[in-house]
């Protein structure tokens, strides 16, 4: 096994748990702590990527472009990354993000729709950015299928393609097989992004590294959507014990989690009832807070909504389907009553 590159996405995936209310001051403190601890890439964007600020996903408290600029100014050696989901963000925001300091762009599509990302990879390369492809909700398709989609992203100019377990639904063998299939098919790097809905974020991350993953993601204190992500400080400790620490300061990351991030967290993401249901039903982790809000409005159990969304094969970004399903379930109950 070799040491993977670790990208911290507290300031992007964690944006969901923060309801997209990160401030410039918080970004500055978190970036300084990560940068000092040797984290090489720090992602900063609205949780749903560039231009994610919306009714559908929640409005940003501070413009993500301002946060990106602060992040870039606060880092001495770490690169700043942004997420872009075609269909939500466009090349227009990508250009602005690059002007404001982004050096890496992670371009995400549902794991069957890689061919909508060509124009974005093209522009990213033109702008001189490092490019990462993100195949979201990758538990929904088998390894060989994902390898074909990843190969499309490679052909558009990706420097790395990630298997993204957006639903936190994978078991270690699922993660291993998917990373291995991409390693065999591609000549570029392969990454893995975990969610902890089934309590397997660290386990799956390790399985992915065993299968050859070159890059993995973490969030301080696991601050992310659903039950959160693999905690960056925990990845550092485990890699260090495995003898493959990529240069991370384990104690500095623990301190960053403890003293910088924990005090500003609205709650500690854990695999609780609703988060486990997300992993179990295989739906997008960000549905958690939206499903709770809408379930309360309609007098429903969030789990009913989440299981039905899984049955309907909802994909990343379909927060509006939660309302749709709630309307259907409420109408069905009225008919019975």
């Amino acid at each position: 096994m070799k040491a993977p590159r670790v990208t911290d996405t507290t300031l992007r995936d964690g944006s969901h748990a923060m309801k997209h209310q990160f401030t410039r001051e918080q970004v500055q403190q978190i970036v300084q702590a990560l940068d000092a601890a040797g984290v090489p890439v720090i992602e900063v964007t609205h949780g749903d990527g560039l231009a994610g600020s919306s009714i559908q996903y929640g409005f940003s408290g501070t413009s993500e472009m301002d946060l990106i600029e602060t992040a870039r100014q606060s880092a001495t050696r770490a690169k700043i990354a942004a997420l872009l989901i075609p269909g939500i963000g466009t090349r227009q925001e990508l250009r602005e993000a690059a002007q404001r300091g982004v050096q890496v762009v992670r371009i995400a599509t549902h794991c069957t729709e890689a061919d909508i990302s060509e124009q974005h990879f093209g522009l990213a390369k033109e702008l001189g950015l490092e490019t990462v492809g993100f195949l979201m909700m990758a538990h929904m398709r088998p390894p060989e299928f994902l390898a074909e989609q990843a190969a499309l992203m490679e052909s558009y100019g990706a420097d790395c393609v990630y298997i993204v377990d957006s639903a936190g639904a994978m078991l270690p063998d699922d993660a291993r097989a998917r990373v291995r299939a991409l390693k065999e098919r591609l000549s570029i790097q392969v990454g893995f992004h975990a969610h902890n809905n089934l309590g397997l974020a660290i386990g799956n991350t390790l399985a992915a590294i065993e299968a050859g993953a070159d890059q993995v993601d973490g969030c301080l204190r696991g601050l992310g959507a659903g039950a959160g992500n693999a905690p960056t400080e925990l990845i550092a400790a485990v890699l260090d014990r495995l003898g493959i620490n990529p240069g991370l300061d384990v104690f500095a990351l623990m301190d960053a989690a403890e003293y910088v991030v924990a005090p500003i967290m609205p709650y500690q993401p854990i695999p609780d009832r609703d988060a486990i249901t997300i992993g179990y039903a295989g739906v997008y982790s960000t549905f958690l807070l939206h499903a709770r809000h809408i379930a309360a409005e309609f007098g429903l159990d969030p789990r009913e909504l989440l299981v039905e969304l899984g049955r309907r094969q909802a994909v990343a970004g379909q927060e509006d389907w939660i309302l749709d399903v709630a309307v259907d379930l409420a109408q069905a109950k009225q008919r019975v009553a």
Binding site: R312, Q318, D320
Partner: protein, 286 residues
Amino acid sequence: MYKILRDPGHMELALVAGIDPQSEGLARARSLGIPASHEGIAAVLADPEIKIVFDATSAKAHVRHAKLLREAGKIAVDLTPAARGPYVVPPVNLGQHLDEPNVNLITCGGQATIPLVYAVSRVTPVRYAEIVSTVASRSAGPGTRQNIDEFTFTTARGLEALGGAQQGKAIIILNPAEPPILMRNTIYVIPAGDFDKDAVVASVEQMVADVQRYVPGYRLKSAPVFDRRSTPWGERVVIAMLLEVTGAGDFLPPYSGNLDIMTAAARQVGELFARHLLGVREEVVA
């Protein structure tokens, strides 16, 4: 093509043109006895009897076609995002641009959602409108896939220009579920001030009925939902409308409601131009 064959109104389908001699579409047209050509725009320009042209090529091609058609004195109904002429959504402004040589139909998501934003803005000023269009992966062709940003830009501009929103935003999501999902659109509207909910509901219901006259599969899944959310303008009531569009199944499968609403709008616009050219005066009924 199928929509005009099924209900020609005051039009006559004179030619179907493409650029691929092996095209299945051209072969189908010929098998139905419709003249077809693989010589593209040249074949259209060669026939002086053709007055109205529906262009469903690509934005890039339409920029070139628009000029040629204008010079030839033909009216272009543009189904690409090229937007050389003014935007048209039939129940909003059909009839305002009858003297234009070129009109643009925005996007499928725009045709589906702009009528409902307009239905709100005609009773109360709209600060912000946002739409999320979810279409079955199988009904999104290579043109949409390679130019997904154009969908976002063009639809958002349409929400402002025709929907009447001060600010518009559009999101598109492709869903690969099997069996394929019907076209789903969520329309969120934030009015600029206090508003009369009953007036909004009545205006929306009227608009749904108006669209149904030419897109029978157009329906709201429930009455508009009013929900308080935090917004950049403070805590505000957001109007959410859940719209489903089932295709008529004339030729494309019913899940392609996105394509159906575009072709239905095109036929509607073409019919009005035809009546205008012929001097027919009565009200258009689809």
